[in-house]
């Protein structure tokens, strides 16, 4: 079932999201849509799956012009979308979610046995296996995504739009998802893969369409493209070096010193330092305890034993407020869930931790404005005014708003947990520059990242964690993607536990 888009345009208020777009997507292929945030790739995916309606132009399915007025209508034509935010019923198991709304029933009674049989058949034919013995809320994000895919298959979807499906997956889960995508393609399904992750795109696609400013730049085969050629086409700029030059400090004075930090089942005996002007990366698989260690240092979660020293003296941190007072800043893992108050202005989001200084009986708006203006510029936020709500910003600018908030406290220790997740290529580069710049100015920077190129490209020192323990520390020339991966997967830890 070939899909063709003809002169499709779409506006949101004053912004043109899609500008006269023409595109052919061949049946039984994995077709990637890439571009910076705001390039129009998600909008196109949402128009095809009925989430948005086009303003002009037409969509042809197998040579027939069709209307796609709603997600339901799209589904009746065999097109469905798996959105970035999954839409499962958390308390029900996989089979219940897959057949939600299309249950086999006898009168009012749901025929559970039949549903179970059909679920098993579906998993067998598709080769997508998920545990069905627990509510989906107990499954990993990767498995939850598989449930969504099964749901699409159960409704006989032929075309599946996947909007940033790997954004929240670990490296291993991403590999599994790519296998699933390939096997679906081999079964004749069409997959439209909307993604920021160029490595995945090059790896899995049959065709890649690059978009910029609502227009299609080109469609090509992955064999004709490289990471740099894609970045160039997406940004319209020559791809320079991806990372700023490293300027490691000479024998840095330790700013942060962690000794024997331990917390229940999550991490144990964590000891390391971060020096002034140094970028240290905490690497390891998702679930290895990286974020948990960072959160404990920041006072977001308690720890059982060990100590945290800041510039030589032990500090007791029981709440993030204390951490901020002590000059620690943290950008949390999920900017939407843990970072930003989306419906408030950029200004209020930046000044939030410092309101004690910025108010007496009433808010001192003038001082607040100057603090905000200064850091708004320093973080390179691109928005018309700091009075805009954070929700209206792109992912990259939202992340920069968090940087602006952290910078405003003039921290001595800067922790960034997945600082470039879900951020477009241009903003990524800007964030790397910011981090390198902070280190150059003498800040101690602790970065947690699942993206290996980021770890290797930024860090002066890499600490690799596995199942809650530190298994390796890499410095200078020792730092390479393969060294980090082999440490993260090494069996040392498990053997150690067994003996």
């Amino acid at each position: 079932m070939d899909l063709e888009v003809r002169s499709v345009s779409k506006r949101f208020g004053a912004t043109i999201a899609l500008d006269n777009v023409n595109l052919k997507i061949a049946s039984g292929t994995i077709h990637s849509l890439i571009g910076e945030n705001g390039a129009g790739k998600s909008t196109l995916g949402k128009i095809l799956s009925g989430v948005y309606q086009l303003d002009s132009g037409e969509v042809e399915l197998a040579g027939q012009a069709v209307t796609i007025g709603s997600p339901r209508e799209a589904l009746s034509r065999g097109i469905t979308i798996i959105a970035q935010e999954l839409s499962l019923v958390p308390s029900r198991n996989a089979a219940d979610n897959v057949y939600l709304g299309i249950e086999d029933h006898a009168g009012p009674w749901v025929r559970r046995g039949v549903i179970k049989d059909r679920f098993e058949e579906l998993t067998n034919t598709s080769g997508i296996i998920v545990p069905n013995d627990r509510p989906v809320s107990a499954l990993s994000i990767g498995d939850q995504q598989k449930v969504e895919i099964l749901r699409a298959l159960a409704r006989n979807a032929e075309v599946i739009v996947m909007d940033e499906p790997t954004a929240r997956l670990s490296v291993e889960e991403t590999a599994v998802l790519k296998d699933v995508m390939r096997s679906l393609r081999n079964q004749g399904k069409t997959i439209i893969f909307v993604s920021h992750f160029l490595g995945d795109v090059l790896d899995v696609s049959d065709a890649i369409t690059i978009m910029r400013d609502g227009k299609i730049i080109r469609t090509s085969k992955p064999s004709d493209e490289t990471h740099d050629s894609l970045v160039e086409a997406m940004t319209g700029r020559k791809a320079g070096e991806a990372f700023p030059a490293k300027t490691p400090p000479n024998s840095p004075a330790p700013v942060l010193e962690v000794n024997g930090l331990t917390r229940g089942m999550q991490f144990a005996d964590i000891s390391f330092t971060v020096g002034a002007g140094e970028i240290v990366a905490l690497a390891g698989l998702v679930g290895s305890g990286r974020s948990e260690v960072a959160r404990a240092i920041y006072g977001a979660d308690p720890f059982d034993s060990g100590e945290v020293k800041l510039q030589g003296s032990v500090i007791k941190i029981s709440h993030p407020a204390t951490a901020i007072e002590n000059g620690i800043a943290m950008i949390p893992e999920s900017r939407k869930d843990q970072g930003l108050i989306l419906d408030r202005s950029i200004r209020e989001n930046i000044s939030l931790p410092y309101l004690k200084k910025l108010s007496q009986l009433l808010m001192k708006r003038r001082e607040e404005n100057s603090m905000v203006a200064e850091n708004f510029a320093a973080a390179g936020i691109r928005a018309l005014s700091s009075e805009m709500t954070v929700r209206s910003l792109s992912g990259g600018n939202q992340q920069k708003a968090l940087f602006a908030r952290s910078l405003a406290g003039h921290p001595t220790l800067f922790i960034a947990d997945e600082p470039t997740r879900g951020v477009d290529v241009g903003s990524k580069r800007a964030i790397y520059e910011l981090l390198a710049d902070l280190a150059r100015k003498g800040m101690a920077v602790l970065v947690i990242s699942s993206e290996l190129d980021e770890v290797v490209g930024l860090a002066h020192r890499v600490i690799v964690m596995q199942t809650g323990r530190i298994v390796a520390e890499l410095v200078g020339d020792q730092i390479s993607e393969s060294a980090v991966v082999s440490a993260a997967f090494s069996m040392k830890q498990r053997e150690g536990l067994a003996s």
Binding site: A14, P320, A321, P332, I341, R344, S351, L352, P353, L355
Partner: protein, 321 residues
């Protein structure tokens, strides 16, 4: 789309219409009643509306703050009953207007503190928690009053609420002051910022260093104190109080706040919205009364109007997203 995030800055007629929809509708009701009903647009009638709504405004102001903080307090109805009983006991023993009012506020404050601590530190859903404490407060109300009617022994105490200042009753002025305080707190102080951040994204606020639990407690304490004050003013006006008094004010208050456009999901809302919401409902009820509509039908129509107002608001919000 361009890389710089843009928002249309031109004054958009449609957004002005939808953002201030409740204001326009309330104005329409006002104009309609002024034109259709002779008795409506008279100084006496308007003064009466203001006087009657004074206690509702006081409770609504702080209920708005609780809702924006992401909480919900149904126990305000019970506090509104309990506080004046303690206050009248004080009045019966020490005949001081100030101490009587203070006692009422203090009872509300303590009850609010209990609510806040249970919700913030006990991690119990605020609707359920305050439903449970309602029973406790009503029970205490019967204990305090021995199940009897308490009376204000010194009738001159009514001057606290009935004194005319610039044509309006002192109760009205007290309400104005309370509303102004709530407005300033929410709009101009650090505390107001914390309220919006906690209601908008609790975890994000905590990680940004906001002492979220304390903010939640403070919101409930304020709401309790407001309900205590309002209940005491009401009982001084009627010179009596008993545990079986009408506590339905909390429903009127929540209806007014929500009709005004403050979200029960937390994170957004405004004091002025609740003030407009209170008068929207008050005008409609007053219009019914002046036109002799049967109270039974009044209630049914009132319910339908509230649903329509909230429904229209939900619809206009859905268009935006």
């Amino acid at each position: 789309m361009t890389v710089v995030d843009t928002a249309s800055r031109s004054i958009n007629v449609k957004s002005l219409l939808s953002k201030y929809a409740i204001v326009w509708v309330t104005l329409l009701v006002f104009i309609f009643l002024s034109a259709s009903t002779d008795a409506f647009l008279s100084a006496d009638n308007l003064r009466n509306i203001l006087d009657q709504q004074s206690v509702v405004l006081i409770v609504a102001a702080f209920t708005t703050i609780v809702l924006i903080s992401g909480g919900f307090d149904v126990s305000l109805g019970a506090i509104y009953i309990l506080a004046p009983l303690v206050a009248l006991r004080v009045q019966n023993n020490i005949n001081s207007a100030w101490l009587t009012l203070l006692a009422g506020i203090l009872v509300g404050l303590i009850a609010g503190l209990l609510n806040g601590v249970i919700v913030a530190y006990g991690r119990i859903n605020s609707f359920i928690a305050t439903l449970a404490t309602s029973f406790i407060f009503f029970g205490i109300a019967y204990l305090v009053s021995d199940g009897t009617i308490l009376r204000v022994t010194d009738i001159t105490m009514r001057e606290v609420v009935t004194t005319r200042i610039l044509g309006l009753t002192s109760a009205t002025w007290i309400a104005f002051v309370v509303v102004a305080i709530a407005w300033i707190m929410l709009d101009r102080t650090r505390f107001g910022r914390y309220i919006f951040s906690v209601g908008g994204n609790f975890e994000a606020a905590r990680l940004a260093g906001v002492r979220t639990n304390r903010v939640v407690v403070a919101a409930f304490v304020l709401a309790g104190a407001g309900a205590g004050l309002a209940g005491t003013l009401n009982s001084i006006r009627s010179v009596t109080a008993q545990a079986s008094d009408d506590f339905s004010i909390i429903f009127a208050v929540i209806a007014a706040v929500v009709v005004g456009g403050t979200s029960i999901a937390g994170g957004s809302g405004a004091i002025w919205r609740s003030v407009v919401g209170v008068f929207f409902i008050a005008f409609i009820v007053n219009g019914f009364n002046l036109n002799g509509v049967d109270p039974v039908y009044q209630r049914i129509i009132q319910g339908a109007v509230i649903l329509t107002a909230v429904g229209a608001d939900a619809w206009s919000r859905r268009d935006k997203s």
